[in-house]
Structure formats: C-alpha cells, structure tokens
Amino acid sequence: MIRLTDLTKRYGKFTAVDSINLEIRRGELFGFLGPNGAGKTTTMRMIAGILQPTSGRIEIAGDDMAREPVRAKSRLGFIPDRPYVYDKLTGAEFLRFVAALFGQEGAAVEHRMDELLDLFELSTWKDELVESYSHGMRQKLIISSALLHRPEVIVVDEPMVGLDPKGQKFLKELFRAFVERGGTVLMSTHTLDMVEEMCDRIGIINGGRILTAGTMAEVRAQTAHGDTGLEDLFLKLTGGITDREMDEILK
C-alpha cells in the first residue's frame, strides 16, 4: 500500500533521510520508531506530500506521489504531530472545509461529520471556534478530519500527544479496527508499549537510515537479542544513556 524506494531528503549538506526502502502492506499497522531527529517526521511528511524528496519514490496504492499527487493524496489521511488548525473557524466549519478539499460536500459529509464528532466527544463543541479548544480537542478534531473522506491509508505522527487515557484507548481500538477492515496505518510514536501491543510490524530509524524492520520476532532475530523487550532493543540500536552517566547527572 505504501512503497518507499531509495527515498532521500537532504537539507543542504545535512541528510535527514538516507535512501530508505520500505513497503507497508494493506491491512497492516506499521510502527515507525526512532530517537528525536532520526528522520521519522521528515519521512512521514514526504509520504503525505508536504515535503518533496531530494530523490527516490513514494507510491500510495500504486500511485506515484510525484506524478499523480492528487490521486495519491486522495487515498491518504495525514495526522501531524502538532495540531495547527485555523483558530477562527468552528470545528464544524473546519471539517466541512477539509471535506471540500477532498471534493466532498452535502448531506453525506454532514452525516459523517456528526458521526465523527460524536465518536470523539466533540459534538457539543461543534459550533465553537477552534481557538477555544484544548490541545487534546484539537488533536481529536484533526484525527476526525483525517478520517472524514474515508482514506485507505493513515499516516500519523505521534498520535497520543495531548490525548487523555480514554482518548488514547479509543484511538488504539480505532486504528486496529481500521487495519482489520483492510486499511493501512503508518504510525510514528515514542510510546513503545503501545507499539508492542498494537503494531503488526515495526521499523527503527536512526540518522536517516532504517536500522531494522519487520515483526517483533523478526527484529529480535535480526538483531540477535533473543527475548528482550522493545525498549532494550530500541536503546541498544539507537544508543541509550549508561548507568554511570545517569549517576553523573543526578549527583
């Protein structure tokens, strides 16, 4: 469903993403892990069509993002890590606007919008300006907007930031249900427990390169780490702080 071929992004001399090759299949929830500045967000923003790759190729269900951007984007729902929306629109106006960007309008959109706002407990806020929403509410509004046009693929960057435990649980169930119905989710997160619990496959990126990718068992096998948890595996691959360094800091 998502295929990345030799995907590279350079900012001047700095290479943020370095020749990534990755395939995420239909009906799969893929966890994208990596330390801060590893290249996760850059990769996801390229997949969403926001950033242009320096080289390489992105395909969404066979549609090339460079050649067929409109077709590729119409299959996607993108949820960014920072919920920037138009403060002076109401929640309902924002959703109607997003639906229009995807060429949809009318009674079907109104119905879908009510359904999603209900689901995310935003119905009572529907006609309030977004500037009065909390961070979590904005996040829920953006998630609703990404689901509005019934995408085939969801690309989501740090979805749990700002959500309350109830919202987090609901989102986990939502993504699982989405992939079980044949959708595809590419999710970046730092919540490793959630990745272990939800994801069919994971990829760990550092310094713009994918260090390892596969199911949890495959990743353990590739890195010869037996039965270790994801946290240990992640720290081993990306480099973590030693006990001695920790003692120094807390001294």
Binding site: R45, A48, L51, K73, K88, V98, A100, L101, E131, S132
Partner: protein
C-alpha cells in the same frame, strides 16, 4: 532559607538580544542585496524627510517675525501627533510583551522578582513601539539643528528631551493595558485595543488633514497678524510632555537658559515609572493569570459567507470552500477587518485632497489642466491601491502558514489555491479602484476621453497590482507572525511597493504620449487623434499589465510548490 540572588536586568533581556542578533546573522547570510536595498530605501526615506523639513524650515526662518514661533508650533504639533501614536502603539505592544508573549511562562515561573520583570518588559515595550518614531525624528531634528544652528551638542539635547518623552506614553500605555487585562480577558482586550487604536489613529490622521496645517504657512487666510501670532505662541497644552520637549529643544536653539522643561520631563518620567511599578506589583499577577484564559468562543463573520455563498455556487467545491474560509477568517480576526477603518480614512483624506486642489477656487479652469490632473491622479490612485493591496493581498499566503500541512497533504491543486486567493483579493480591490477613479474624476469634471483612459488603465493596473502583491507575498512569506498587519512591513512588502511604483511609473510613461496627443488636439480644437501611435501605446500598456499579472502569480506558485514545511 536564604534569599536567591536575583538575575540582572541584562540576563533577562539577553535571550531577546541574542535572538535579534541571530536573526540579523541569518538575514546577512541571505545575501548582501537585501541589506543594500534596505539601506538604500532607508537613506532615500531619510533624505526625503530631511529635504522637505530643511526647505520648509529655511523658508519659515526667512520670515523673521514669525519664523521661530512658527517652527516651534510645527514641532509642537508634530510631537503631539507622535505622542498620541506612541500611546496607542504602547497600549498594543504592552499587551503582547506583558501578557501574550511566548517566553512569559518561562519568565513568570522563574524566581526573577516583579520589579525586574516590569523594568525589562517596559524597556522592551518602549523599544518596540517607539523605534519608528525615533527613526523619523533623526532627519527632522537634523534639519532643525542645521537651520537654527543647534551646534555639536544638539543631538545630546534632543536625546535628553526624547528619552523621557518616549518613557511617559510607554508607562501610561502599559498601565492602561494592565487595567484593561484585569477587566477583560487578554484576547478580548487585544481585539478591543486594535479597534480603538486603529479608530483613534484614523481620527488623528483625519483631524490633522482637516485642520489643513499648510494654511499656517499662508497667513493671508487669518483675520489679522496679531491673531496669527497669538495662535502661534499659545502652547497646545502646558501639561503635555510634547510641549515640554518642544520648549526644551527650542530653548536650546534660541539659547534660552530655562531648566523648567528639563526638570518637568525627567521628574515626571521617573515618577511615572515608580507609579507604574507600584501598579504592576498590585495588578500584574492577577492580570497575567487572567490573560491565560478566555479565548473567544462566540462566532461572527458567518453573515458575509452566507451572503456570498450563492454567488460562488458555480465554483468547484474545494475552491468555493477555500474562498468562504478566507472570508470567514478575515471577518473574525479583528486585527484584519479593523484595518478597514484606516482604509476608509485613507480614502476620505485622498478625496479631500483632490477636493482641496486650487483648481476649484472659483475661476474657470482649462480642460488641459483638468486632464493633466486626471492623468497624474492615475498614479496617485494606483499608489493608494498598492498600499491597500500590500495590507490585504500581500499577507494571503503567509496567513496560511502553520496550516499549510493541511493544504499540501490534501488533493487540492496548488494552482487553484493561488487563483482563489488572487480573486478573493482582486475583486474587492477592483470595486474600490473603480470607485476611487470614477469619483475623483467626477470631482475633477474629467472629459469623457480621460475618464475612459483612466478607468481602463486602473482596471488593468488593479489586476497587475493584486498579482504583484500575491506573488511577492508568496516569494517573501512571513509564517512567524500571527498579526496580518505586520506581514507587509518586512523586506518583501517593501520590494512589492517598489515594484508596484515602478509599474505605475512605466504605465504613466507609456500613456503620456497618447494623452499629450489628445491634450494638444483639445488645445487646438481638433478631434482626438486615434492613430497607430496611440493604439500601440495602449497595446503596450495592456501587454505590460498582463505580464505583471501572469509572471508574479507563476513565480509565487512555483515558490509555494517548493516550500518546505
């Protein structure tokens, strides 16, 4: 527990200073062309202000009886106008620097005491709201010093007069803001203040223009000389700091030793700082806490969108909703629509100026002169339109800023985005252009030929000016500011205004020959000579305006396509 050592004032100011230095470094690394252009424009503006002031003061000085009082009166009016602008500017700036700035959470949660916070923020407010007036003051006071022999110490005297003169409106503005924030939520206060400030600024400009200060230089309009001298020598008000600053400066220029204005200025400024600090100690904490609440919840601006929705029905859904979204956002953002008040003032002043032309002093004016004024009026109207486009069309792309992720990740064609923005800005501009040109031409009783030429030219110019504004707005976006009024004040806005003026100049030059041909024919009583020369000139104008419409939009579109968010 022993008291914590307090950070110095420098420590608190340092991050802002370092940020400014780093920004400057970034600008410098962007190429020397930008700095050179800015320097050139600054020198040009300073030179023009200095030139005008110098000539006017020289002329005034030559009229020996009233020379000095007249110069003092002008200075007093000028400083009084500045003080009202400074007060308004401080009111708005204080809201941001004391209550809404992003770094305040860090500062307020740190153990820095309230006095340090007050003094550093007061200094910052003063700097942000007074720098433009301070820059304007340089050429004006240079002219005063040169004409009246201020000597080498004159800059020091002016600095000593202006420093407390800047402090006073800053303390008063900050105190009013502090009280307002305690009474209303900060965001509502911001809306309220932008409205009051823009309205009051418009009022000051209008009052200044309707007073017609140029009449002061023509005493023949006054009943008798004694009345005139009396009007010149009466202070505007002896309790205003602008009057004290004027007296202090004029005393130096006339070699009068009088310490009173100096003492008044400095003691009042220092006393006001103490009073302001006491008020800050009492009210700031509660006000800051209140400023964190109360984002606006009620909705307005839907009426316009509903009114226009049927007109836009034929557009594809994405474009229609995009235009409606822009209209809603415009009318819900007070900093945006309140500028319409300024626009109205600008237009009234413009029409008033046309009406005040000596053409209408009762005598019969030749068609030649009227036609010439109508032709030159094109340039002036074009300039007014450029200023309006700079304010309303130029920020269009920058305002999408942080939401660009949504537009870029959606299947919306960027070309549709740019053209939607173009027409949303151009149609109101076009209506305005036709209104200005037709009304001023009617006032001037323009002949039909000149009316037709100016209307068609204005139509073409509007398309081009709007495209230039949108194009340069995309080429030089400012995504960092939330205030739309600040967006055109940068380098891009300046380049747009320069290009726009160049376009106006080129169009006027191209049309000069056929218009002169028409005027010559009128003088000689012959019919209007419509020949290949005239047609070629008008065709060139059409070509230039078409190019100035298409090229900036294409460049802007290319820039948006290559933008990285």
């Amino acid at each position: 527990m022993t008291a914590l050592p307090q950070p110095s004032l420098t420590t608190i100011v340092l991050p802002k200073w370092q940020g400014a230095v780093n920004r400057l470094r970034q600008e410098r690394s962007g190429g020397s062309g930008k700095i050179f252009t800015l320097a050139l424009v600054a020198v040009g503006v300073w030179g023009a202000i200095f030139g005008i002031c110098f000539r006017v003061l020289r002329y005034i000085q030559s009229t020996t009886e009233v020379g000095v009082p007249l110069a003092a009166k002008f200075l007093s009016i000028l400083l009084l106008s500045f003080v009202s602008l400074l007060l308004l500017s401080n009111l708005i700036t204080a809201l941001s620097s004391f209550f809404l700035a992003k770094d305040l959470d860090l500062l307020v949660s740190s153990p820095a005491d309230w006095l340090r916070v007050y003094l550093t923020r007061l200094g910052e407010t003063m700097l942000h709201s007074s720098w433009m007036v301070a820059l304007m003051a340089v050429p004006i006071f240079t002219a005063y010093g040169m004409v009246f022999g201020g000597g080498a110490l004159f800059p020091l005297v002016v600095t000593a007069a202006l420093l407390p003169y800047f402090v006073l409106p800053c303390v008063v503005g900050t105190a009013i803001t502090l009280i307002l924030v305690n009474a209303f939520p900060a965001r509502r206060t911001r809306d309220l203040l932008s409205l009051i400030a823009v309205g009051a600024f418009g009022g000051v400009v209008l009052m200044f223009r309707v007073m017609r200060p140029e009449r002061l230089a023509r005493p023949e309009g006054v009943r008798n000389l004694l009345d005139y001298l009396d009007a010149l020598q009466t202070p505007t008000s002896p309790f205003l700091p602008s009057e004290w600053a004027t007296t202090m400066i004029m005393n130096w220029l006339q070699r009068v030793a009088d310490p009173l204005p100096v003492v008044l200025l400095w003691t009042t400024a220092l006393a006001f700082i103490v009073l302001g600090a006491m008020l800050h100690a009492r009210l700031y904490h509660a006000g800051y806490s209140k400023a964190q609440e109360g984002a606006e919840r009620f909705v307005r601006g839907g009426g316009w969108a509903r009114l226009l929705a049927p007109l836009l029905r034929r557009l594809p859904v994405a474009r229609r909703e995009f235009v409606l979204k822009d209209i809603r956002l415009f009318f819900r953002d007070t900093t945006q629509w309140s500028q319409l008040i300024l626009l109205a003032v600008l237009l009234i002043v413009y029409v008033f100026n046309i009406k005040s032309l000596p053409l209408f002093s009762g005598e019969k004016v030749p068609v030649f002169l009227v036609s010439l004024v109508v032709f030159l009026n094109l340039g002036l109207a074009g300039f007014v339109l450029s200023a309006i486009a700079a304010r309303f069309v130029f920020p269009a792309v920058s305002l999408e800023g942080k939401q660009m992720w949504l537009l870029r990740s959606s299947p919306l064609d960027l070309k549709a985005l740019v053209w939607s923005k173009y027409w949303t800005g151009t149609i109101p501009l076009l209506l305005l252009a036709i209104l200005i040109t037709a009304s001023t031409n009617l006032l001037l009783q323009a002949p039909p030929f000149m009316m037709a030429v100016s209307l068609v030219t204005m139509l073409l110019l509007t398309f081009a000016i709007s495209a230039l504004a949108l194009g340069f707005g995309a080429l030089y976006p400012r995504f960092d500011t939330e205030n739309a009024a600040q967006i055109p004040t940068g380098f891009g806005g300046m380049i747009f205004m320069m290009s726009s003026v160049a376009l106006l100049g080129l169009v006027l030059v191209l049309e000069a020959a056929p218009v002169m041909g028409y005027l010559r024919a009128q003088l000689m009583g012959r019919p209007t000579p419509i020949g290949p020369g005239m047609l070629a000139s008008f065709a060139a104008v059409v070509a230039v305006c078409a190019a100035a419409t298409v090229v900036p939009i294409r460049l802007g579109l290319r820039k948006i396509e290559s933008m990285e968010f």
